[in-house]
Symmetry: C2
Subunit: 243 residues, 2 copies
């Protein structure tokens, strides 16, 4: 399919593609490959074959190697591109982001960036560098948001703000990751639907927990605080789990 230098050849490839966002056919093969890779990686995970990606982009497998050198480097470029996209989306939405979760909710529930969400989730499954970076960003943001919230008096202060921010972020993202992994959408375009369902199902318990707590007494917390302020002599590390 698509013999080298056919009727249209790589029309419009060498000259700058011109205006705005070009249609799929009218773009650099390189860019098409990258986008196809993002999509395939999001849908199938990073085990997706170079040949499948190449087929999606309408080129040969050899060309992928020609442009990117190796599958690993291709993935690295996808990671970089995704990180840039996320940063842009974040910047665009920072205005109406009130709480830490908020950005992610809006972001993940938006139809148009299903591939981005899928890719990030895959990266989390994989433990890649992107996931680490993404989560660090989320944690940093959460620290900022909670600081503001505490200052404004709408959030309860914590004895260890950093630990709380990390805990809340890991819980939110981890739960979502687990949910999506457990019941993956049959059609990848349903990803956002699954995400939205999960978010709407967890909203009530989350709000209850955030507003009313879970334990009726402070005893376990106080016990723990007492415990860490005066630990038993034979143990350096605070504690695994008193309860």
């Amino acid at each position: 399919m698509r013999s080298a230098g056919g009727p249209e050849g790589r029309a419009g490839a060498t000259p700058p593609s011109g205006d705005g966002v070009p249609a799929d056919a009218d773009r650099t093969a390189r860019a098409r490959i990258r986008d196809a890779a993002v999509y395939r990686f999001a849908v199938e995970g990073f085990g997706a074959s170079v040949r499948a990606i190449a087929a999606d982009a309408g080129v040969s497998a050899g060309l992928v190697m020609h442009h990117f050198g190796s599958k690993e480097k291709l993935r690295a470029e996808c990671d970089a591109h995704l990180l840039a996209t996320i940063r842009r989306l974040k910047r665009e939405n920072v205005a109406d982001a009130a709480a830490g979760q908020s950005f992610f909710h809006k972001f993940a529930a938006a139809e148009e960036n299903a591939p981005v969400v899928g890719y990030v989730l895959r990266s989390m499954q994989d433990g890649g560098a992107l996931a680490r970076e993404f989560i660090d960003h989320m944690v940093t943001d959460a620290v900022d948001y909670t600081r503001d919230g505490v200052a404004a008096g709408v959030l309860v202060p914590s004895r260890d703000e950093a630990a709380r921010a990390r805990y809340l972020t890991l819980s939110s993202l981890g739960a979502l990751l687990l949910e999506v992994t457990l019941s993956p959408p049959s059609d990848p375009s349903d990803l956002v639907a699954v995400v939205r369902d999960y978010l709407s199902n967890s909203y009530l318990p989350m709000m209850e927990l955030f507003s009313e707590g879970f334990l009726t007494s402070r005893r376990m917390l106080d016990d723990y605080l007492l415990y860490v302020s005066d630990p038993p002599p034979d143990e350096a590390v605070p504690a695994p789990a008193p309860g």
Copy 2:
């Protein structure tokens, strides 16, 4: 290594292995293969090769096929075995399990069942049937525990106990999964150390959240409750995220 019918041959294989828990060499090859598979799967994930498993068990790859038919069936048997193990451990510890988390904390922090924990985490990463079953069990248990806790007056009641149990379970397990995926132990035997570190780091924020909540006012919760009791006419599904 270990040619067919060497000096010791399959000594003690056909006759019942006799008493108690036999040493590694003195056991059915079939059992050795299964255990090696559990270990490899836990350490490397389900991409671990049949040859590697066979080598660990000290047999040829062909024998694995002879006993299990296919890699898939081998994994199915590992799943079944793990599920049985988990149920046993649960039964043994049900006595001193007070809260929903408690069992899992003790279970995951115990040195001896690192392979079990690793295998379950891998299964969650993979989205396999075992993970679904395991989590369903955890959720069911959480429902029971919270019912008891609410009845005893130590836990705040929820407007949707099932949803809360699921939310709490997915959050706990998801966060742990994410943490381990993000910074996997270099030596697989360090798994429980990583788990223990994570648990001790999240204990304070968790206790704070459970005891003191996160939001200082009930407004968001009340808004949501008002919203679901009288939803806007153009929308069937409750809500994605008001805030």
